[in-house]
Subunit: 174 residues, 2 copies
DNA sequence: TACGAGTCCTTGAACTTTAAACAAGAAACC
DNA sequence: GGTTTCTTGTTTAAAGTTCAAGGACTCGTA
């Protein structure tokens, strides 16, 4: 139930299109893997880097950006999180000394989040372990074809869920 | 950086195996899609069913179980969450009147989580909308081959992250 | 220049999750 | 029987996330 049509009745217009048994298996595998994986990486990073996976991702984005800085909104957009969440996250990272803020000169509303030297060091120190974890959990287990396939599939899914248009408080997350 | 080897140096034994540019793209697509998807479904269910995705999953598991009940530990194992998290979740669902607890007669430590009639009704009422959301976000966008592929891939990943052995507080989540 | 609408980011409260510690009972052992 | 050890499930506090609201600023337009 809840996913599958167990009753032997033909699908009608108003009858929801339940998942087939096979689709259901796919979906459950997805949920299971995604849950376990996120949990695994969160633990790994919490242990080795002292922060959850999302926060680590923020530092990575900053590290890749010119002058290691990004406007808050931009960072939020890249990381696919709300600005509110980002505000809290950056506050925490700031407390750790891994990020600092700076006012945007051209737009007084704006703030830059800037990766500090300490932040960069944390990244440099923990990146190898994290990459290893990702490899072990994902890439080492998949054939090149599967890796390629995974990339395509996730790209499609992500694309479909992308920010429609500008909205009240969530410009990109509808 | 942090994922890729940007330096033109040959990989050595102690040099971490950075992700190639292509692997990196795959990984980012995965993170992006997984983030957006979970967020999307959380919002959808919060709006239509008044609970986050994980909680909904718990009700589904119960609905599928004989006599609509499961031992706490078992439910936690199926849902891939810790028992602590489950305790909190069930407490909340109980407050909503969607789940009730019952002592296990054969093991006095044990507790059953049981789906109530109201819980079942919520599920029945909201399942179509949720299935629709899943279809729109995932299945409708993928070819049958891609669906199959996704299933295989996620099955492999999940399998690799499965509970190793019995451990202190997390018998299945190592 | 002044208005209104929209954007940028933050805040506080409510809620969820995590981590560590604990009480109670079962199981294994001797 | 009496330990000792493991398992079950909960609890507490801290950390993280969401939601709704709000202050500050920009921009378009009259």
């Amino acid at each position: 139930m809840a996913y599958m049509n167990t009753a032997p009745i033909p699908p009608s217009a108003d009858e929801p299109r339940w998942l087939t048994a096979e689709e259901q298996r796919v979906w459950r595998s997805y949920i299971e893997a995604a849950t376990l994986l996120e949990d695994h990486l969160d633990r790994q990073l919490q242990r080795d880097a002292g922060m959850p996976h999302v926060y680590y991702g923020l530092l990575v984005k900053l590290a890749e950006s010119p002058r290691r800085r990004l406007r808050m909104t931009e960072l939020a957009r890249y990381a696919k999180i709300t600005r509110s969440r980002l505000s809290h996250a950056v506050a925490r990272l700031e407390k750790n000394g891994w990020v600092r803020r700076e006012d945007c000169p051209s737009d007084k509303r704006g703030q830059f989040a800037i990766l500090t030297y300490e932040g960069y060091e944390v990244l440099r120190r923990t990146a190898p372990g994290h990459v290893d974890a990702v490899r072990q959990a994902v890439f080492d287990r998949l054939t090149p074809e599967q890796q390629k396939s995974l990339g395509e599939i996730m790209r499609i899914v992500a694309e479909g869920l992308q920010p429609r248009e500008a909205g009240a408080d969530l410009p990109w997350l509808r």
